[in-house]
C-alpha cells in the first residue's frame, strides 16, 4: 500500500473538484426544492452566512492577524489571504469608490463554478451566491457591516465575475448590562 501521494501535503486540504462538485449538487438540489432563482439565492446566502460566522474563527486562529485599521487593509486580506487559503485563488481588488468604502473583487476562475453551464431560464440565479453570505457573515464577526453582491458573472456571459463589497457601518462592541 503506497501512501506516498499524500505525504507532505497539508491533511486539511482536500481536492478542489470534490468541493466544486459537492457545491454544484447543493445548488442543483436547491433549484429542485425551490424552483425560484431568487429564493435559491436567498438560501445560498443564508447558508454562506452560517458558514462565514464559523469560518472567521478558523481564519483568525490560523493567521494570528490583528484588527484591520481601514477597509483597504480588509480588502487586501480578503483577497490575498482569505481567498488564497480557502479557494486557492487571489481575486484582483479594484474599482474603489472615491470615499474608499466600496470595492470590487474580480474573480477570473471561480472555483465554485468550474464545471458549470447555467441552464437557460435562470437569469436571476447567482450560482456562487454562497460567497456573498460567507463574506458577510465573516466580516460581521469582526464588527463590519458590509453589503456583498454579484454585479457580473462569467456564467451569465460577462467577461469576468465581479463581487461588489460596500462598507455600511462599524458594529459597536456590546456593552454589558448595567454598564455605561
Amino acid at each position: 500500500m503506497s501512501r506516498q501521494g499524500t505525504r507532505g501535503v497539508d491533511p486539511r486540504k482536500v481536492n478542489g473538484e470534490l468541493f466544486t462538485l459537492t457545491y454544484g449538487a447543493l445548488v442543483a438540489q436547491l433549484l429542485r426544492d425551490y424552483e425560484d432563482d431568487d429564493e435559491v439565492n436567498k438560501q445560498l446566502e443564508k447558508m454562506g452566512y452560517n458558514i462565514g460566522v464559523r469560518l472567521i474563527e478558523d481564519f483568525l486562529a490560523r493567521n494570528n492577524s490583528s484588527r484591520c485599521n481601514d477597509f483597504r487593509e480588509t480588502a487586501d486580506i480578503i483577497s490575498k489571504v482569505g481567498f488564497k487559503m480557502y479557494l486557492g485563488i487571489t481575486p484582483v481588488v479594484s474599482n474603489w469608490s472615491p470615499a474608499g468604502d466600496e470595492f470590487s473583487l474580480l474573480i477570473e476562475n471561480n472555483p465554485l463554478a468550474d464545471f458549470v453551464e447555467l441552464p437557460p431560464g435562470h437569469n436571476n440565479l447567482n450560482f456562487s451566491n454562497l460567497l456573498c453570505g460567507v463574506l458577510k457573515g465573516a466580516l460581521e464577526m469582526v464588527q463590519m457591516d458590509v453589503d456583498v453582491r454579484f454585479v457580473q458573472d462569467q456564467l451569465k456571459g460577462d467577461n469576468i465575475t465581479e463581487l461588489r463589497l460596500k462598507f455600511l457601518r462599524r458594529l459597536e462592541d456590546a456593552i454589558p448590562v448595567g454598564e455605561d
Partner: protein, 145 residues
Amino acid sequence: MTIYNLHIFDRNGTCLYYVEWNRRKSAGMSQSEEFKLMYGMIHSIKSFVSRISPTDLKDGFLNFKTNRYKLHFFETPSGLKIVINTDLGVGNIRDTLHQIYSNIYVEYVVRNPVCDLDKPITSELFQTKLDEFIRGLPFFPSRIN
C-alpha cells in the same frame, strides 16, 4: 506555579465556559454575578487602557498583577475573550492563550456544528481537551499548600 481558573467570554459578554483548578477562595456571590463582574471589569479596563494610552495601542490590555495573583487576558478580533488567573511566577503566556483559542476552541467548538457559538459550551470533548491541555502546561503542576 499554578493556574487558578479560566473564563471564556463571547463578544456579547456571555460566559461561554468557566473552569477552576486550584482556587481556594470563592467570591461570595453567585457564579452568574461573578461572571458579570468579571466581564464588566474587563470591558472597563479595555476602554480605560485605550483612552489613557499615550501612543497608539497595538495589543491593548494584556494582563495585571496583584500581590497574590496575575490575570492574563487575550481577545481575538472576533471578540472572543479568554481570561486566565495564575500565580505570580507565570510570565507572558500569550502563545498559550492563542493555542487554547486555535487548537481547542476553534477545533472542538467552532468546528462542531451542534455547538452553538453564543451559548455556554457543554461539549464534553472540549472540556476534556481543555483540561488535558491546561494540566500539561509546564507552569500548571505544583500545587501550593
